[in-house]
Symmetry: D4
Subunit: 224 residues, 8 copies
Amino acid sequence: PQVRADVGRGARTGEPEVVYAAGKTPAQTVTAVTALLDGGVRPVLVSRADPAHTTAVVAAHPDAVVHDDAGMLVLAPLPPRDDAADGRIVVVTAGTSDLGVAGECVVTLEALGERPTLLADVGVAGLHRVLEVRDVLAAAEVVVVVAGMEAALGPVVAGLVSAPVVAVPTSVGYGAAQDGMTALHGLLSACTPGIAVVNVDNGLGAALLARRIVRATDRRTAGG
Amino acid sequence: PQVRADVGRGARTGEPEVVYAAGKTPAQTVTAVTALLDGGVRPVLVSRADPAHTTAVVAAHPDAVVHDDAGMLVLAPLPPRDDAADGRIVVVTAGTSDLGVAGECVVTLEALGERPTLLADVGVAGLHRVLEVRDVLAAAEVVVVVAGMEAALGPVVAGLVSAPVVAVPTSVGYGAAQDGMTALHGLLSACTPGIAVVNVDNGLGAALLARRIVRATDRRTAGG
Amino acid sequence: PQVRADVGRGARTGEPEVVYAAGKTPAQTVTAVTALLDGGVRPVLVSRADPAHTTAVVAAHPDAVVHDDAGMLVLAPLPPRDDAADGRIVVVTAGTSDLGVAGECVVTLEALGERPTLLADVGVAGLHRVLEVRDVLAAAEVVVVVAGMEAALGPVVAGLVSAPVVAVPTSVGYGAAQDGMTALHGLLSACTPGIAVVNVDNGLGAALLARRIVRATDRRTAGG
Amino acid sequence: PQVRADVGRGARTGEPEVVYAAGKTPAQTVTAVTALLDGGVRPVLVSRADPAHTTAVVAAHPDAVVHDDAGMLVLAPLPPRDDAADGRIVVVTAGTSDLGVAGECVVTLEALGERPTLLADVGVAGLHRVLEVRDVLAAAEVVVVVAGMEAALGPVVAGLVSAPVVAVPTSVGYGAAQDGMTALHGLLSACTPGIAVVNVDNGLGAALLARRIVRATDRRTAGG
Amino acid sequence: PQVRADVGRGARTGEPEVVYAAGKTPAQTVTAVTALLDGGVRPVLVSRADPAHTTAVVAAHPDAVVHDDAGMLVLAPLPPRDDAADGRIVVVTAGTSDLGVAGECVVTLEALGERPTLLADVGVAGLHRVLEVRDVLAAAEVVVVVAGMEAALGPVVAGLVSAPVVAVPTSVGYGAAQDGMTALHGLLSACTPGIAVVNVDNGLGAALLARRIVRATDRRTAGG
Amino acid sequence: PQVRADVGRGARTGEPEVVYAAGKTPAQTVTAVTALLDGGVRPVLVSRADPAHTTAVVAAHPDAVVHDDAGMLVLAPLPPRDDAADGRIVVVTAGTSDLGVAGECVVTLEALGERPTLLADVGVAGLHRVLEVRDVLAAAEVVVVVAGMEAALGPVVAGLVSAPVVAVPTSVGYGAAQDGMTALHGLLSACTPGIAVVNVDNGLGAALLARRIVRATDRRTAGG
Amino acid sequence: PQVRADVGRGARTGEPEVVYAAGKTPAQTVTAVTALLDGGVRPVLVSRADPAHTTAVVAAHPDAVVHDDAGMLVLAPLPPRDDAADGRIVVVTAGTSDLGVAGECVVTLEALGERPTLLADVGVAGLHRVLEVRDVLAAAEVVVVVAGMEAALGPVVAGLVSAPVVAVPTSVGYGAAQDGMTALHGLLSACTPGIAVVNVDNGLGAALLARRIVRATDRRTAGG
Amino acid sequence: PQVRADVGRGARTGEPEVVYAAGKTPAQTVTAVTALLDGGVRPVLVSRADPAHTTAVVAAHPDAVVHDDAGMLVLAPLPPRDDAADGRIVVVTAGTSDLGVAGECVVTLEALGERPTLLADVGVAGLHRVLEVRDVLAAAEVVVVVAGMEAALGPVVAGLVSAPVVAVPTSVGYGAAQDGMTALHGLLSACTPGIAVVNVDNGLGAALLARRIVRATDRRTAGG
Ligand SMILES: Nc1ncnc2c1ncn2[C@@H]1O[C@H](COP(=O)(O)O)[C@@H](O)[C@H]1O
Ligand SMILES: Nc1ncnc2c1ncn2[C@@H]1O[C@H](COP(=O)(O)O)[C@@H](O)[C@H]1O
Ligand SMILES: Nc1ncnc2c1ncn2[C@@H]1O[C@H](COP(=O)(O)O)[C@@H](O)[C@H]1O
Ligand SMILES: Nc1ncnc2c1ncn2[C@@H]1O[C@H](COP(=O)(O)O)[C@@H](O)[C@H]1O
Ligand SMILES: [Mg+2]
Ligand SMILES: [Mg+2]
Ligand SMILES: [Mg+2]
Ligand SMILES: [Mg+2]
Ligand SMILES: [Mg+2]
Ligand SMILES: [Mg+2]
Ligand SMILES: [Mg+2]
Ligand SMILES: [Mg+2]
């Protein structure tokens, strides 16, 4: 077979296998989606979908919800979790241009039953914008920072909160920004500890990591 | 002044400012340690200390505990936390050569009152070694993976557990390993989600990130 | 002349010169194909063909077989070799997105009379998938691993088998994956020995290397 | 001759030729110093001097002032300029480890008759430290920011002041900091405009650039 | 909100927030422009606008002036400043291919009320061209050098003038020019001091930096 | 003016200024061509012309000769030089895919009155092809080697001849070939001395360098 | 425990675990050696040993054989294999400076009972040297090419033989050779197929890969 | 044998094989020198010799002339050639720190019977220094430019002369100079044609290339 759906991943890791559409033909993408659905996986997510992938999946599964800006498709989403609460996971972006990547993160979290709070365009060039939302950040259980260019928002936020900060460098910028590699390396070199870095533009990975963090809490709370 | 100790960092972020000795003179290092101690910071940690730093700090503060292999000094450590329990934080290394970096992580955690479990030398070249410790990994609240060369242990572990995985690439290796940059980029590109990456050889950062994760749990449990 | 066909390569090295279409005009590609055919080379292969190359070659040589997904054209393929047997060469991919590169490998091998076995989508994020095919891998004379992102499948397989492992990093991934360079450097830095690395996306080179390996056996067996 | 002293540089550009000791033998360094002194250049500065350079120069010119931490030698310094005033040029460092580079900047400025103000250790991990010195920064005619690791202090300061900001990335950090290249590229990619970037660890260049800026003012004021 | 306009930036830093269109949807770009206009920001500038951005902004704000070659839109420009004078800011390009980037610089300066002088195509391959304009350069208060390939014009000019030189490396060139990174690193490594480097192709940043420099003069002159 | 034609370059350096079309608008390209023609420059060459450049130039100057594969336009070519002789300059390519770059070299040389000999497709994978043309190479006054991928032809040729070898790395290849940077760095690191390296795909530069070499001979012969 | 010896590796993969001394303390190295010896592993090899490692191991195990130039220690070597024959494995170096890496390869092979043939200093700068040993190369079952600088010997040899070529790039060279990365990338980009590349300076990995290849033959011959 | 002296290289290429001492043991270096001497090679040169190499060679061959700053040893030098004349080959350095590399070039040329002219310290920061020596440069048959940092001297000289310019980038500089890679890439990207680039710090290669150029003249003159 061309696709071996990992239907047991939810049981092992708490999150479903996600279909990575980039590099797959539309037909392979549909096959993967169907295999996951048939295997009982919930939700089924497709990331990095282009219009051809989207058309093919929607033709096969008309109830797929399309999130164009985020490049995602959602099938069979989970209902909001009991433990989900506004403000446990806060997603913050440095600029408006980072919203596509933040969207990948938010769509993923919501499909998994979380209720993330999104704060956009609070870059450090206008530092008062960060300070204005400081209380929301300080109250979160995990903060996801989405930032391109030099990504200075990451270390600034990590110095203001006690929660783990998941930082997503984005490819916003040009020249020395090197398609996001400078933001990535800057976040990894940050003078502030407490930052968990994921790949450039990887909103999906940030969502799943943030969820592992809040689920760790939930499991312990439940078990306590 | 040459040093402005950030004595309020514990209140803001939950972890103390740590003295980064690399690039400081021994005298500057002593000044920083003394300022933190005088400011009431507990514990006071020095990382990346070489013998000259160590000698100077110990002369000024004879009760400093020296961890040579980890390049760390510990003063005024915290007692074990009430919530700390063996196995909440598991630190695992791919090879024996990664133990120096793992030591930086473990020393930091213990000075902060955590009780991490260390599992060394379980690299994927002998995959049975990973499978043998699978249950310990699966029970952890956060797993820290310390691995150099190609760092394949990171994605393998992240596919076996539901906890967040903090991955520390190390500079073990040569040639194409590029002083740890290949391990770093490989972990960021991993096919398995749920991995929080920190800088090459950054055992300290991994410790503080892992602690933010378990503290998030503790705060919520306490508040629940 | 613009093309000097190396018609003696088969006698020297055991494999025919292959036409690399990238960077050639369609007319140059046709000229090269015709020169090889006229020189008695069997089979004649074209790699990295785009639609313009394909159209021109098929117009001149209507019996060319087109493999679109693999970007290859095959003329005058060899019949299956006597020594070829299922399972001597096993080609395994980490994900479905790696199938294009694996196709270049498989098409090349089959045109040369080999009978490779293809196992797709056994990435380490679901490690049980690797363990399920372990016996097939262990019985092979050479294993070709095709993997992108962090390519952890390479060292995992090399630790389970005694055959040489030919590893093909692919350009699947984004950001820190750096168009396959991270997979490439990771495979070269792997903690498991026994891995022969070829260029990113070089399914053709992997096929010819794998064939040199099994032919070495055949020659010795024949001579023994 | 091995040295062609550019004794006219002061007239052309306002700053003297500076002897770059790295890569010169001690004897060549002495020759260069003597040639500049003999040519009437004031002051004569040597940068990146190691102990062998220092010993040789001091032997030949006993009145040379040695600044060990900054790796500089000063001969025939200028008296404080009439237009120099505390606070026109403010030099600020992110950490204590950046003080060596800041020293190269301050020593150069003082030898040229400026009166820079130095503010050390105001990194963004403790953002209140930046805000505490905000008024001093806002009153400056030019601010020099010296910062390593991810160098987030640069864009934060540039968003708070209307003066040009000269940013000096330093090689403080490890791993993804890439010997200061990440700080360099981050400062160049910063979301805040108004930043003039110089080479990694180039305190000397920052001093001379800052001085060109205040001199432009002085010339215009004088001419007005 | 998706956009938090930083309407106070002019008061803090002397320059308005500029809308960076790259990575924004046309709708987001219009929203940002409107928010700045409504907040009283003058002028409102859009950089890196493609035809879709331009069409959308002009539809919403028909008085927007379009600068196609520079990729910029200007709304509500400032009138020429009292202090502006021809020749205070001189913009010089190495080649004709650098004119797009120089345009971004000149458009920005003019919208802010400056009166820059543009000298095009004075590359060092014909050194007499530089020497011909030497007096214009020497009389400037700040010189902006726009150069691609190896960017040797930067250090040559900086050795001829006493004003600060703002150098903009461009992505003109191929191969070893590495999309402008070689020009960037060459300017940072230049043997001549006094060079302020900005990002590759960053004509906007050069304009705002040059303006901070002349404004520093104006403020001091005014205050003197 | 947007263009300052360097009409004296021929007198200074022996070669005319060449119009680099990349990054110029078609109108700017025409302006540059006309300025050079009007200034008496012979020949006038345009490199890296795309169809829009070509159309515009041919419209303005109908006698321009178009070399599509080489991306060049030639106006007012020189007649063959008296000293030109077949075989003084030999241009050799490793593969057929390198012919576009070799064409840029040959077109330039012929427009300047040289008579280069072109030998295509003699890559080292079939070493006999190199040895077959060995006598032609050994008799040349300068050999231009055009090669992509690993460019091994360069050092092999330089070890067989006593003439200077001008090596042009090409961007033929993929993955680790890094768009020609690997060929470039390999040629620079070659174990054989006597190789003059030019930029990736720089057939024009190779032509002008080769011509400077044979002209040096001619001037001395004439003067002797 | 700090060391988990993988004593079953020989049974799984045919080669023993090798102790990588770099990054281990002398004490850890001794522990690893002892654990492997106690576990019945034969031979026990230590690679990348420095004098401190060597002294400690020899003190604990006086029968360890020290290979200083190769940085290796050998304990309990295997006797020559029945199937080993001179000329099955040929190791060839481009220069004399590559002999250290070739030594790591030869020592490993001999400790495992193979009988490799070593041909040194046959670089392509003097191509006749390669052609002189052509018959030895053509008769081999596997050829290991050890070459630094531009490593052109790899593709030249691979075009002359039908055996698989294991290529070891070395760090011999400077500047653009980039510590062996250029040789590595050149070999991966080679125009000749049939090359198996290992990491820079990885003589050990080449040996184990070459041995997997000849063992594949032996197993099939035995089984046939 | 460990060394296969290429004694025929002089006959083939006009220059002798040179012993590259880096990476060789002192004993191997002596063996290579002796083999070349015994094979009748004249002169015998050793490059990149450290004190241990020098001591060993001088012990074996007491008449070896040591050039410490250039890292070279010369045995059996050629007498000055009849055709050699002052000023045919001019070697020019940008700074005094480049003199070590220029020395490697000059020593090699003189040992081969050439009479190079050396002009030191004429960097473009003081452009008048270049213009002062313009006539000497313009009269040369080949100009060797030795320059580090941004190496702007290369394109400036190439625009002033009609001779081929051999450019040697040096590793002088720091940070963005990247050990000479920026100078290297800048020279390759230069806006002035006619530049032959060799590896970073490769004074030897520049000498041999320059000599091939003047010898091409001599051969033709002789034959004319
Ligand atoms: N062409 C440009 N280059 C660099 N930075 C820019 C450019 N245009 C705008 N900016 C800045 O980039 C930031 C963009 O943030 P946002 O518009 O919120 O995504 C703003 O702070 C602008 O000042
Ligand atoms: N020179 C070498 N190059 C690459 N890998 C090596 C080398 N020596 C040993 N190894 C492998 O590296 C791993 C080292 O892991 P450890 O000894 O636990 O740190 C082992 O699996 C060895 O097989
Ligand atoms: N946007 C994404 N970024 C990173 N990894 C992803 C993304 N989407 C899916 N994946 C993971 O990538 C792997 C894709 O493998 P495959 O679908 O077999 O090619 C799966 O394990 C997914 O969990
Ligand atoms: N300084 C140098 N830079 C570059 N190549 C060199 C240098 N010195 C010698 N060589 C060449 O490098 C090769 C070294 O090969 P070997 O001496 O056999 O290791 C010879 O062919 C020399 O011509
Ligand atoms: Mg914004
Ligand atoms: Mg181990
Ligand atoms: Mg899959
Ligand atoms: Mg500090
Ligand atoms: Mg021009
Ligand atoms: Mg060919
Ligand atoms: Mg040799
Ligand atoms: Mg000088």
